[in-house]
Amino acid sequence: MAPTSRTILICSGKGGVGKTTLTANLGIALARLGLRTVVLDADFGLRNLDLLLGLENRIVFTAQEVLAESCRLEQALVKHKQEPNLALLPAGNPRMLEWLKPEDMKTIAGMLEEQFDYVLIDCPAGIEDGFKNAVAAAKEAIVITTPEVSAVRDADRVIGLLNTHGVKPVQLVLNRVRPKMMANQEMLAVDDVTDILALPLLGLVLEDEQVIVSTNRGEPLTLNGSKSPAARAYGNVARRLQGEEVALIDPSKEGRGLRAKVRRLMQKKIF
């Protein structure tokens, strides 16, 4: 095993909150810091990690063939052309779900830990078998959620399960933050979410249209050193994982104009 290898599960409970986008961007960001990183798609039913990384046409073998020992691990790993420190281990056929066991995921993770500094596991949505398989392989976890009641509630369920499985540390990434709505108190505040879930905040990602653009292209934002807010946030998550102290952005300071000033005045407690 690489002496400092870290296996991190990226999960959320609810679907569509940004698990796969975080996995892809964090994978690239860590690789750019010079760390050997592999992203493992554990969403066998609805795999998408290959698509976000732009690697969908380069898949020959998958985790399925590796487990069946019909190919070597090296043959299944897809190396990213622009960022050679990053590799993808693609999810197999959805029919794998019929026989896949938590032990199998442990086996795969064990193989990857020998070669990589970071193993990021993109967890399927939900808390059923797919989640149970993925969590078995994880040592630590990042829970990603958005400031919406349904996403926070589902995140809470997942955190409970992670605790039961002895996964730690568990850290939080709050995604799709809209500073304007937060300032108008029409969105749960950052503190509301961290208080309720009682997790340390690893990252704060603002709502950013560039995420969709980058997904269209299959080029994660962190790949080309984009300066967009989400790209910076993902890069900061990577640096914090590496132990660097990087200050979190303050959503209430995002607006500088007169409007933002008036908004802050309106929120000030006067009695």
Partner: protein, 96 residues
């Protein structure tokens, strides 16, 4: 009270939704975490009142049994104002 709260009141606008979201979440999570449905909690509440009422006279209108959560720990919190001890109860505790 903020300027915004005052404006909301003056204009009879709905208050901002973030507070509502937080309160609803805290309630639903207390139930999720304890695995108690509102019906079961209600039943438990009634039974607790019954047991306590055997010993002391409690103010049912003011009393409350609810789940509260802080730092992922959920507690059952009972607040049962006592009107006065029942005669039976003081008998049961022996001579005083």
């Amino acid at each position: 009270m903020t300027l915004r709260d005052i404006l909301d009141k003056l204009l009879r606008r709905q208050p901002a939704s973030a507070n509502t979201a937080r309160e609803r979440l805290q309630l639903v999570l207390a139930h999720d975490r304890s695995d108690l449905s509102p019906e079961l909690l209600d039943q438990m509440r009634r039974e607790i009142f019954e047991v306590v009422a055997r010993y002391v006279e409690i103010d049912l209108d003011e009393g409350d049994v609810s789940l509260e959560t802080e730092d992922r720990v959920t507690a059952l919190v009972a607040n049962l104002p006592i009107r006065r001890p029942l005669a039976v109860a003081s008998g049961a505790t022996g001579d005083e």
